[in-house]
Amino acid sequence: MPTKIILRGRKVVGGCAEGEAIVTQDTISGWGGINEKDGTVIERRHELRGRSFKDKVLVFPGAKGSSGWSAYFHMARLNGVAPRAMIFNKMTTKVALGAVVTRAPAMTDLEQDPLLVIETGDWVKVDADNGVVEILKRRREGAG
């Protein structure tokens, strides 16, 4: 059986959604940092460059850069390429507004650092209404 981890945290945007995690240690720019048509990260020196968060649970430290953060995640949602849910560490106006207009469940202030607990490929359920994140660790090669 895959390992299941449960973390409690604070709701930013309500709702419940699950999906495969895409995790980055780098903060994300909205405007100038993502392609709002396909959900890929485009920043030149970014860990996720060329990878899309479409239909994934996006786990990241927080927002940086332009004030167009919300506008680009808003358009990503209108274009059908938004993440299914968001988990982040650092609350700012940029990321809060961005999460609200993305209209996907979002949480912050988890009891353990999600960037250390969650890895890309894990299956993550974000139950923001109840303040709970469930993580099913992806099965490792050679394990079990």
Binding site: E43, G65, S67, K94, V101
Partner: protein, 370 residues
Amino acid sequence: MRELARKGFDAVYSELNLDSPEIVEVPRVVANTCQSITGIDNERWRIQGISDDLADQQKQAEAYFGRRGITMLATCTPYQVGNVPVKGEHCAWMESSAVVYCNSVLGARTNTEGKESTGAAALTGRIPYWGYHITENRGGTHLVEVEIEVDDIMDWGLLGYYLGEIVDDGIPVLTGRCHQPNLIKLKQFGAAAASSGGVEMYHIPEVTPEARSIEEAFCGNRIKHTLQYGATERQIAYENLNSATDRNVDFIMLGCPHNSIDQVWLIASLLEGRKISQNAQLWVHMPRALREVADRNGHTGIITDAGGVVMSDTCPAISRHMPRGTKVVATDSAKQAHYLPATTGVSTWFGSVKDCVEAALAGRWSGGLQ
């Protein structure tokens, strides 16, 4: 988006500026509100490669929202053209380079808002009271010991670009060998720090209004993080910004954040009586209100005679329009050098205004760290 535009300006404002699929009839604004930078120069859109239809739509939108009280400054630097909040005034600004200037240099208070929250704030005169609106959140987080001379515009850009990446959304406090800055230097510095990172405020003791001393800059808190900025850090920032390898330059972009009139004068002085290369194009960007001044001063004429274009209302990063076929760009803006490769696929050289003007004249990049 085109479908949205067909439904009219209220529908566009409702969706994009209020996050409301339900169409709200936009009333007059109640807060002092201005239009930020746009994608289209209202007079030179054809040079940008923008269709007449789109330009016409922007003009109609401006007339529509102008009648509702939105001031069409159409610049990323409203503080250069009359929108200058006083210390302590609560604002709801977007444009990251203007936000950091507003908090740090003016001592007014704003978070980095977005399109939807500023759209609502314009109509209600309200914005959440948290973050940078609250005194306790405005104290420094990092003491930065500047160990090398930071004086010219390019060096302020490099310092900002380096710091943003290190402190993220922290509040750096500069000490050491940075010389007395001016509006231009702090404009470039803040824009760079808000591109590589998320800096929304900084302090320079004895210069910025909420920091008469280092102690005051930290709001009396203990200094938890100290970092140094020396020759090595400067080199790192420079290399991170310069993504180009081909020295043949197609396009030179000056004016991000929008140029001040003195910057345009400097560009005109460097170009006077000379011609830019046939292989290169030069665009100089500024607020439309200052363009009027540049026209009257004769700066515009000098730049145009040399083969350059003076534009207002927009910039390449916002419009994503550059001269056709552009592959290599030279710019004096760390912000453009950071964003253009990601959004348009070009590669960039970053340097001083003089390096950039030389590149325009020769069609070749010969700049570098001095």
